[in-house]
Assembly symmetry: D2
Homo-oligomer: 259 residues x 4
């Protein structure tokens, strides 16, 4: 290996004729039959074996993001499958392309907000003071506070207390979880509105407890939703709705042109 090649490296996996090793573990001998999918995702991403507590929490994080009903993502995937049923992978890909700032961004936004709140705040910060400061800064910039509020799930997002309970049970309800709860109360006080912590807010806080970089948090939504979209495509293949919807939408959208 010369200097030119030395810096192209990936530490995730390798294989030889008789071995397949992921993150230092033998896939056949140490992983298959011994881990569940969420734990393996944790290993893939962190290089570490999840503790039982981390396993419970991380599986719950990912499961929360798998299935959100007939979303724009699911519609895009089904429309794509209608045109290219031989390319199931492209239908999932099309569905994932829309998981951007509008639909999953608030997870990463919440994580980013919480990390930034603690920056330069020292070892034992006054959480209430951080919450007040954070809410004031968002309000001054006229920005929506990520992770708060939900168009349907009011006054409580039913996933949030459950996720926080699982965090509590597994020793993961630390300072980031506490801070978002204080931010919520302060935001409700300052705005006079009902602003429940939504699922993405809860997940963002929990991802901070894990220590995941906020930039990768969106990736949890992406990988979880891939599972959900395969479910939608399976259903579309058995009980299609895309063609009927297409014709209806086309008729409605161009009715004024046909006169």
């Amino acid at each position: 290996m010369n200097s030119k090649t030395a810096d192209i490296r990936s530490d995730i996996a390798f294989s030889t004729p008789d071995r397949i090793v992921v993150r230092g573990k033998s896939l056949p001998d140490e992983i298959l039959g011994k881990m569940n999918l969420g734990d393996f995702a944790y290993l893939q991403l962190t290089g570490k074996t999840a503790t039982p507590q981390q396993s419970h929490m991380f599986n719950a994080v990912l499961i929360t993001l798998v299935e959100h009903g007939i979303t724009p993502s699911a519609i895009a995937a089904r429309m794509t499958y209608a045109g290219a049923p031989e390319s199931l992978q492209a239908a999932v890909a099309a569905g994932l392309c829309g998981l951007g700032t509008v639909f999953v961004g608030t997870t990463e936004g919440a994580a980013k907000m919480l990390y930034e709140a603690f920056e330069g705040a020292g070892e034992n910060p006054d959480l209430q003071a951080l919450a007040v400061k954070t809410v004031a800064a968002f309000r001054e910039r006229k920005q929506i506070i990520p992770g708060l509020g939900h168009p349907v799930h009011k006054p409580i997002d039913p996933r949030t207390p459950r996720l926080f309970a699982i965090a509590e049970e597994n020793g993961m309800a630390g300072k980031h979880v506490q801070l978002i709860q204080l931010i919520q109360k302060e935001a409700e006080r300052a705005s006079g509105k009902v602003l429940p912590i939504n699922a993405t807010g809860a997940l963002g806080a929990i991802c901070c407890e894990f220590g995941f970089p906020w930039k990768i948090v969106r990736g949890f939504g992406v990988m979880a939703r891939a599972i959900g979209l395969v479910g939608h495509i399976l259903e579309e293949s058995e009980s299609p709705i895309a063609h009927k919807l297409w014709h209806e939408i086309e008729d409605r959208a161009s009715a004024h042109l046909r006169g």
Copy 2:
């Protein structure tokens, strides 16, 4: 609801202000903290709760498909991330787009071959006769038998005996698993070549034991690989290789033009 709307339906999930229900189960109360990600994928796809045996087997199936090293898929995802780091979801989507007939097709091909072998074969078919007939048909059409042979893992794909052992332990080593083993022996006899059952062959047979339609089998590879690709993008964000590779490839590919 009138007749026009009656036929647009999805049975997967719904929500109300205080409920989120997936496949008939309350997400907060019956799923979060009580299932692992593989089991939830099983529920999402089948509408059924996995038995402990199915849980072990299905988690192993999906885990096998998550990470295969620096594949063309991983390279495509990393190249995409280099151009659009703000769109992590699009990088995963780009990587998934290539999971077609060359790289994951053999899983569905093996499942299709096994299902078709049993079509019209009655209740208690002679498996050895089916194997001989199947191999002869592929050889006559000069087609490669899906699920056999591997460019690297010779003479044995190390995942295969482990997957079959897990199938055996969980009561899932039924007639499809037996048939692919007989097909392998017959194919080796007829061709004189070493043709191990590769992981996609083993997975295809196991998917038949589950009863999954062969058309959705590719979807398992797609959803599993989405996890793997998020891992690659996380690594790319921390230890990038795409830019360096790009410049090297461009230099090499156009050297003859620049003269």
Copy 3:
């Protein structure tokens, strides 16, 4: 350059500090301001400068494929944009993912059918005999003849006579165009149905006149539709329909579950 690197090459383009050369031509000096986009596409794909006749024909081929109204592709692109407006490129990509065997496949299917009809038919084949043989073969296999029939444009697809007239005017109405016309007549005779040559049939025949490999014909639909989809996304950004459609579809699809 050693033997290891010699075989990685691309002949399309290169650049140096003061030059950008595509297909042997200086982009600033010989292309910009001197070609239209269709001609440049022709150069990019073939390495040749289009004659005026080829220019007229090829621009018409591509234009025919740009815009087909509110298609599943356009819906997928708009749904994706609704979720990730910051990733316009991913919305176009999502829309393109569905241009598979159902919606653009008949263009490549028609081209393939015509090329195969002439295989082994010698220098001056009897076109009528080839038409009869081709139709009989499709009917025997119970396959739909690609490029014939249209759900809306009956009894004539209005694009087809215009495309053939442009072909005639530009000396490109050769044996492939003649053959598909004979195939149409024979198919109508044999089936007793009205089967107009649709636009994809006309385009497939014209692509054969150009000599394009049938495998790349789908690419014309893909690159043309990318233009159309940017138009849809621009309209979606100004007069959005995706969010409203999403909520309507979700309500309808899960009404039976909410009870």
Copy 4:
């Protein structure tokens, strides 16, 4: 049409059994054979017929964006095609997914900067003062000025003078083109560096002369590059490089793991 349907509309196109109308024009009668692809793109996007001057300029804008050699985008498309050659559309889609903030963002960035510079500046602003103010603002925020500088094309990007000459010839070298030229001089003066206006800077300024919203400017790069990527996939299908590159990259990247 009732109130429920009134607000779902698209004004781009419609068809009836004997008509296909795009932007108010009959596709067969008024478009095919009478427009080139760039002009039709202009019609699709703006609803207006390009003047001859606009036609020259807009075709040049799009052509500039089609082909940039072996880019990360082209590598992603080729890698995807290697895995799913049956889904050419997905390979193009994968390539487009990476046209984000790093590679085409500077076009929209330049357009945005120029539009913002003129906001609130009145009818006859002092362009030199606007240039000084703009450069100072970017420097204060320690942001790179979009559209200036190029890693390879130094001291001049050869596309820029040609694009500006075409703009001049066609009466489109207005205030936005003038402003970016003043910004360049001021940026070079302030930084002491050589900072040529690159192609994306020139294109951004010209897009402002057209009056295109800055948010859609990225779309021009996306639709143009779709053409370029089809060219790369055609070449990949005839002279493949993806498999060889994959194996080389995998070997290099995991050499340290195999030991």
